[in-house]
């Protein structure tokens, strides 16, 4: 078991790192980062809570089916790639759109971003499902 001290700091880190991981995900197209890196950040901070609090304790209130996460991610990624066919383009043809939001100003929306989100979920789901499966193993 870990100590109160570790647990407290883990609690502090948890939302911080999750936010950071989201930021890495969103920044990926223009800065270092992206789905994979963001996803690994997310997975590792969840792994940290597993380490600090014990898997069973975390599972008692936070127990998503990580299988669904990577299933969803893969589905999202594949569908994003497929969607181009619906627009009479080749598979994986990307699209770049600039939209103007009232408050945030001009925002760049790229189809590849959606794909990256898929990657993000696959990485999180895949890694955590491995951790959970092995960690659960007696």
């Amino acid at each position: 078991m870990t100590t109160l001290i570790t647990k407290t700091i883990t609690k502090i880190c948890l939302p911080l790192v999750i936010l950071f991981s989201i930021s890495l995900l969103l920044a990926g197209h223009n800065n270092p980062g992206g789905g994979f890196i963001g996803g690994v950040m997310f997975a590792s901070v969840i792994a940290l809570t597993y380490v600090a609090f014990g898997l069973n304790y975390i599972k008692s209130f936070f127990n998503p089916d990580w299988g669904n996460w990577f299933g969803f991610g893969l589905l999202l990624a594949a569908l994003t790639a497929f969607s181009a066919i619906a627009f009479s383009h080749n598979f994986f043809r990307s699209a770049v759109e600039f939209i103007h939001l009232p408050f945030f100003g001009e925002i760049e929306l790229v189809s590849a971003g959606l794909f990256d989100i898929g990657v993000y979920f696959v990485v999180i789901g895949g890694l955590l499902s491995i951790f959970k499966n092995v960690g659960d193993d007696e």
Partner: protein
């Protein structure tokens, strides 16, 4: 200009402290003492370098991130040190021969195994 000199000074001090921390790592007799070096001096060194960058670039993204890094290290490195030293002690890593007291070892009362070379 003054700010620049000041920040360079902090930078050099920071780097020097990092160096000292590593020197401590090499020279101090046991893992607990080495942790004093890396945790305290290392943290300050890193903090110093990041601070100097913040001073140089202001609250630009780089500065903000440098500060974030510094704060993060400040918060986490003592915990890391605590975890390692605790694990070391429970793992059976004994104190160096100069040590004068071990109240923790007594409290653990569980017979700690002989320190082993890995």
């Amino acid at each position: 200009m003054i700010l620049n000199i000041f920040s360079n000074m902090i930078l050099v001090i920071g780097l020097f402290f990092v160096f000292l921390a590593m020197l401590g790592l090499a020279r101090l007799p046991d893992v607990y003492n080495r942790l004093h070096a890396t945790t305290k001096i290392g943290t300050l060194g890193a903090f110093g370098v990041m601070l100097s960058i913040l001073l140089k670039v202001g609250f630009s993204p780089m500065g903000v991130k440098a500060m974030t890094v510094a704060l993060f290290i400040l918060v986490t490195s003592p915990v890391a040190a605590h975890m390692i030293s605790r694990a070391a002690h429970r793992h059976g890593v004994g104190l160096c021969k100069e040590s004068v007291i071990d109240e923790y070892g007594k409290a653990c009362n569980a017979a700690c195994p002989e320190p082993e070379e890995d």
